[in-house]
Symmetry: C2
Subunit: 404 residues, 2 copies
């Protein structure tokens, strides 16, 4: 039997580690002959754009580089499949491709849209008595997949956010003047990554002094009063804010600000909550203020990946191969946390439907009553995920990457 693997959704630091996990495990097993990689997720299957990975991953050094390379080595896509009851044509194209390459199991590494593909495709195969299994392997820096304790990719992003906000805190404390620094982190709907900034408190830091997540209603007025309060206690106030914080009417907090502004070309202004709050503080408090967007560095800074994250990403990829050979299909691999201290997780599988098209939010009980901080329980959850470092393999003073 041959297998195929593909990557989908937004880039992370761990999605290539899961690819390596699938490859390494499959390589070891006699039941599996060829391991194909599909370029740009399911699009590669639809467009017959596959590669025999053994021709690309030629040495153990290649594998070591692959697991240290951010983003998706095979490329990604954002394609969702239609319901096959309405239109099965693309399912037929996929089936033909799998038959042509004699694929017995398809592994799809991705987020909730990808799990939707896993669920639909496996159901189609089952209903049409086609013996091809489909298994989902989770990944997302947003950590918002249901059915798993956490998602590969999140730990590295969380580690980057915590360490970077710590460095920004040093930078912000350099002058004697009072100041406010607003750090905007990714997370349109779920606040996990913003919450991770709180980890630095475990190293004795008072910052971030304020943490705002999309799960709790955001209010500009309350924000200003929070900042004013914190300025009484701290010379340099640091606030971590999710890009997705919303006001009580359910709209993004920066929405009005964005929509009422047009740039020189008449486009709606697309900058985010950080710039909005920077202007708010500047206007209403009048102190030195700046905003910093962590941008894609949150998801691609593999030079500072979490070893726990990268190892788990490989393990869950390897486990997917074992589960697939045991006959599983239509499932997503998942972590079940046994304990936080000492940290221990088991790998199990859950129906892909559980993760498809749903979002796992940061628990309200881990947010304080004022909605401007996280609790100790949150830190207990987060801390194990950012432990350990995977040092890059350096060349010329820069990390070396693997390019397929």
């Amino acid at each position: 039997m041959n297998i195929a693997v593909a990557q989908s959704g937004g880039p992370t630091c761990a999605i290539n580690a899961s690819l390596a996990g699938v490859y390494n495990q499959a390589e070891k097993l006699n039941e599996i002959e060829k391991i194909y990689g599909s370029f740009n997720g399911i699009e590669g299957i639809i467009n017959d754009n596959l590669t025999d990975l053994s021709g690309r991953l030629k040495s153990s050094e290649d594998i070591e580089l692959l697991i240290r390379t951010p983003s998706a080595a095979l490329g990604s896509c954002r394609r969702k499949l239609p319901e096959y009851a309405a239109d099965s044509s693309v399912y037929q194209v996929i089936t033909e491709c799998f038959r042509r390459y004699e694929i017995g199991i398809f592994f799809y590494i991705g987020g909730n849209d990808s799990m939707d593909t896993v669920a639909k495709l496996s159901r189609y195969f089952e209903e049409n008595k086609i013996d091809i299994r489909v298994i989902g392997i989770p990944k997302t820096i947003d950590n918002d997949l249901c059915g798993t304790d956490h998602c590969p990719g999140f730990g590295s992003a969380a580690k980057y956010v915590a360490a970077t906000v710590q460095e920004i805190t040093r930078d912000s404390n350099v002058y004697s003047k009072p100041s406010v620094t607003i750090v905007e982190t990714m997370g349109r709907h779920a606040g996990w990554l913003t919450a991770a900034s709180g980890c630095m408190r475990m190293n004795g830091e008072s910052a971030p002094h304020l943490i705002y997540l999309p799960e709790h209603t955001f209010c500009g007025k309350r924000f200003l009063s929070d900042v004013t309060d914190m300025m009484k206690r701290h010379k340099a106030v640091i606030a971590a804010v999710s890009e997705g914080v919303r006001t009580s009417d359910g709209r993004f907090a920066a929405e009005d600000y964005q929509s009422c502004k047009k740039d020189a070309f008449g486009h709606a202004y697309l900058s985010g909550i950080g710039k909005y709050l920077e202007n708010l503080v500047s206007d209403r408090i009048g102190c030195k203020v700046r905003s910093i967007e962590l941008n894609v560095m949150q998801r691609c800074s593999s030079h500072f990946a979490s070893l726990t994250d990268i190892e788990e990403a490989q393990e869950i990829g390897a486990a997917a191969v074992r589960f697939g050979l045991e006959g599983k299909s239509g499932c997503m691999m998942s972590f079940r946390r046994v304990s936080s201290a000492p940290y221990r997780c088991e790998i199990v599988s859950v129906p892909a439907e559980e993760a498809a098209n749903s979002e796992c939010f940061f628990p309200m009980e881990w947010i304080n009553d004022s909605g401007n901080d996280i609790t100790a329980d949150a830190l207990e959850y987060l801390m194990p995920l950012i432990q350990g470092e995977l040092n890059p393999i350096m060349k010329n003073g820069m990390p070396q990457h693997f390019i397929v």
Copy 2:
């Protein structure tokens, strides 16, 4: 004799390493009794806010943490001294403070404003026959100090920029759609840091495909035609742009864009060249485009510092102590490059005036004729400065910092 040391200007990853260099060298020498640190640069001398550093740096572990801590552990300031011929009152306050603490030599780690202080203060002491020496130790991520081959702090910032643009390049190549990514780097007047993005070519990367420095006239129209050309050859075009690029009339390229826009509070819009060019590409080319500001992470990401930079920063701090004891004053310590391959620098001293109030620009002969790239000579200069890593001392999965 006692000595005092202070830090000034914008934060870097190496300014604490120079502090450690001064401290370690002075500690070894019998001629020097107490080593005082002045908080917030020269302000600490003016306001009598000094600390006996031996009470703060209690172990070799403290020193190891200090050299790995970004920003200025003693705090910084942006204060310039008046000409003493016009107003000598602050010079008298400074002299009294130095006498009170029996300071024989004052070490000032900073950029060109700080070298202005070194020059003025040493001249004042000399003219008034006051036996206090003043020595400048260079630091700036901008690398724009005259009189030295390069500046401590630049190498680490350069390494961060090169590695981060490399990671952003991976991130940008993930989808099959053509795209343009604009990375905005620091450098109001000098393009050294933006040029450092070019180092990644040494690892076989084609990116960054376009590099724009403030030294070469910038033209939006030419930029669009450069991008269009590059899109024929590369799926994901990466352009590195200095925040300070200027049009032929000498104004910042984003200036019109900024000044014609007002935010919701009526403030002029302060975002930079990246966002401006993003809108320009979106409007005129219409492809997928995004801009990324590397922001203060360029200067404070000590978790990824250049070992060469941090070691040199310590060495130049130690050399300052030796030069001071030999009777030097009014000078800035400086690197003179002996060779690039193998890399070797000597530490010498130059008159502080040479560095004060002037700027060292990126050489025009290291920019290609089209003004959108750097030459091989530039890479030969840059590469030695980003070599080696200084791994952070980790605690709880995050770098540990030293806080005075």
